[in-house]
Amino acid sequence: MTNNKLQTIPKLIKLNVPIVDKEVAALKIGDEVLISGKIYTARDSAHKLFGNKPPFNPKGAILFYASPTPTPPGAIIGSIGPTTSTRMDSFTPNLLKMGIKITIGKGHRSPEVKAAIKKYKAVYMVVPGGVAAALSKYVKKSTIIAYPELGPEAVLELEVKDFPTIVAIDSKGNDLFEYGKKKYGT
């Protein structure tokens, strides 16, 4: 549960892939984290196809719930931003068990996902929805690695540089949504 005494000062942290488990476990809700390196995209249809074999090595991987707009000529990628994470909740505990350490999306996670985040010392991060033109500028390379038949829902390997995220659920199970709502609700 969120503790109101948990008044940590949000930090700006740079996180490079491959990630160090200890660095992930030390992240706290509200921290702003700039991610550099390879991350993977997947949403509903791709999750259904994963089963126990995602098309990338899950150990220490970062999964971004997203599917971009088509790439305009001369660009690296179209607009890209998070989709609602809640829809992926039923798949997430199993993926964290397989070694995925960071999931990135928008919105709430279920109690089951929160428990799994705590158990596997993982972290859930959010990026704002509706700022996808700006976010596309942090993507340096984009490659389809699986399920091209899914069209916009294909799995992409993205090379990102200083991709800006906010820690929403940390490895202790603290939840920024609960904390923030309590702090500003009257």
Binding site: A66, T69, G78, S79, T83, T84, A133, Y184
Partner: protein, 280 residues
């Protein structure tokens, strides 16, 4: 009769698809700037600043504001003195959406079948609402409706004896349940009256009213204002990370209804509210 070529309608719809998806309306930008000046949470202010910066980049680079470029919802007010030449209005609208989503590099987010879920590949079919009006003009409204906020919408059939307070609680509860998933700060469209489908359509039309304007009908201006204040006290804040800006506007529309009914629909849109109009 004034004759209008179907191709003219397709062209107009195509342009609206691209414009709405890449250029945030002034009324929405103004509301976000206004919210930024009042937002108490530093994270909230950071997100509002990102939204403003994103709008600038999208306009400059002609990039979609959001990767979810929506289901195309189109409102046509068709003058009764207009005759459409060469194909039907419906075919012309779908063709415009097809061309707009292709030429604008917009994401195609429509499934052929809701259960089998194969993508149609061209963002059609669009949702089309047609109203016959006097005159010889065609007014087209285009709303790119993202899935996240749409999924947070709700409808309830109240009893005629239900109180205004009960209705208000339902609206607030719907917003609270939506929370971060609807990409706040959101716009709340409320339809009260009509029937089951009528209330839902009213709520959607309410969303399309300019932010900061109030219904000229018998909707009490005061109620919209009060509801907005109450919603902004929930603490949900930008992207649900806590703050004092949860909604930018509450727009209520009402219609007469059956003596035994009181339908209330709440349709939610995200801050990336993409609605544009044109008249032929």
């Amino acid at each position: 009769m004034r004759e209008v070529l179907a191709e003219k309608i397709s062209e107009t719809v195509k342009a609206l698809c691209i414009e709405a998806n890449t250029s945030l309306s002034e009324d929405v930008l103004e509301a976000i700037n206004h919210a930024l000046a009042k937002e108490k949470s530093p994270t909230g202010r950071d997100i509002l600043n990102q939204i403003i910066k994103n709008a600038q980049i999208a306009r400059r680079d002609k990039l979609p504001l959001c990767q979810d470029t929506g289901l195309a919802v189109i409102f046509v007010e068709l003058g009764q003195e207009v005759q459409i030449i060469s194909r039907t209005l419906e075919a012309a609208v779908h063709e415009g959406v097809r061309q707009g989503y292709e030429a604008g590099y917009l994401r195609k987010s429509v499934t052929e079948d809701p259960i089998q879920r194969k993508n149609t590949g061209d963002n059609t079919p669009a949702i089309l609402h047609v109203e016959l009006v006097p005159g010889d003009k065609i007014k087209i409204g285009f709303l790119a409706k993202g899935g996240g906020a749409e999924n947070c919408s709700a409808i309830r059939m109240f009893k005629p004896s239900s109180t205004k307070e009960e209705i208000e609680q339902f609206i607030i509860d719907t917003v609270e349940a939506a929370g971060p998933n609807a990409c706040p700060p959101m716009i709340v469209g409320v339809g009260i009256g009509a029937n089951f489908d009528g209330a839902a359509l009213l709520a959607k039309k309410a969303l399309c009213r300019k932010v900061g304007t109030h219904s000229s009908g018998f909707t009490p201006y005061q109620w919209e204002k009060e509801l907005l204040e109450k919603i902004n006290k929930l603490g949900i804040g930008p992207m649900g990370l806590g703050g004092t800006t949860t909604a930018l506007a509450v727009n209520i529309e009402k219609r007469p209804c059956h003596i035994s009914s009181l339908p209330v629909a709440v349709n939610i849109d995200c801050h990336s509210h993409r609605y544009k109009e044109a008249t032929i």
